[in-house]
């Protein structure tokens, strides 16, 4: 989680010592997998955010239209709202 946060907000803080700390918990393969996954999501979530689309399913699991989803989830995806609420 620290790796994802730093890649997005403070990449200069990611140094050799940080990778040494990662290696205490993850293999080299897992670190590369994590880094690719984080980079991919970092790029795409901003792009998706500009497209203003909403979840395909209602909170009770129904497949819904974008119009209905917008009514349910409002001006921002529920995931972003809950993230902001926890700050």
């Amino acid at each position: 989680m620290r790796y994802s946060e730093l890649m997005a907000t403070d990449p200069d803080a990611i140094d050799a010592a940080f990778f040494d700390a990662l290696r205490e918990h993850y293999s080299e393969e897992q670190i590369v997998e994590l880094g690719l996954f984080i980079g991919f999501n970092l790029g795409y979530h901003t792009f998706f955010g500009t497209l203003k689309f909403y979840p395909m399913f209602s909170p009770d699991g129904r497949l819904i239209t974008q119009a209905e989803s917008e009514q349910i989830y409002g001006a921002a995806p529920a995931s972003l709202r809950s993230s902001e609420a926890t700050k």
């Binding site: 790796y3 730093l6 890649m7 997005a8 990449p11 990611i14 140094d15 050799a16 940080f18 990778f19 080299e28 393969e29 897992q30 670190i31 590369v32 997998e33 880094g35 690719l36 996954f37 984080i38 980079g39 991919f40 999501n41 970092l42 790029g43 795409y44 901003t46 792009f47 998706f48 955010g49 500009t50 497209l51 203003k52």
Partner: protein
């Protein structure tokens, strides 16, 4: 040296991965560093290499414009590695360093770019600078110049390459000694 040591070329034995690495080297983007690092996660490496190459060199948006956008993004990401690489295909199509610099600089006031090209450059520029400006009005402007398919191609290209540039920056990757 990157924080994750790249595999040696000889250690990459998967034929498809070797082919993708050769395609990257022929294009000039990426050189062998990116694939030698991602090959440490073999199941991830091939789809990521395919996406990197395909989104950049294929599709229905001018490759030269994508190349300028890619370099603009790499500079914004602070990624010395991808910022230093150059597409041979774009160079063969006539893209010059002067035009790259113009596209990465004050392109809005430049006569070197069409309104469509400026709009695409603005798309990349604003995406990670101030995404709130990439709104319905912005997409309406993009649609004056590009089809929906081209806009998705551009957006996905921008998102993917920026993400990979941030990944390489996080690894401490620097510019190759002899840029292609």
């Amino acid at each position: 040296m990157t924080y994750v040591e790249p595999l040696s070329r000889e250690a990459i034995t998967d034929p498809e991965m070797r082919e993708l690495m050769a395609q990257g080297e022929a294009l000039g983007v990426p050189d062998d560093l990116f694939p030698r690092i991602v090959a440490r996660a073999p199941e991830q490496a091939k789809p990521f290499m395919r996406a990197l190459l395909f989104s950049h060199a294929e599709g229905n948006v001018d490759h030269r414009l994508k190349e300028i956008i890619r370099i603009l993004l790499a500079r914004f990401a602070g990624d010395e590695y991808f910022a230093a690489l150059r597409s041979r295909k774009a160079r063969e199509m006539g893209l010059t360093e002067e035009r790259i610099e113009a596209g990465c600089g004050d392109y809005e006031d430049s006569d070197a770019f069409t309104e469509a090209e400026k709009c695409a450059l603005r798309y990349a520029d604003q995406m990670y600078l101030d995404a709130t400006k990439v709104d319905a009005a912005f997409y309406a402007e993009l649609k004056k110049h590009y089809s929906e398919a081209q806009i998705m191609e551009l957006g996905a290209f921008i998102a993917f390459h920026y993400g990979m540039q941030m990944f390489m920056r996080s690894l401490g990757a620097t510019a190759p000694r002899s840029p292609a």
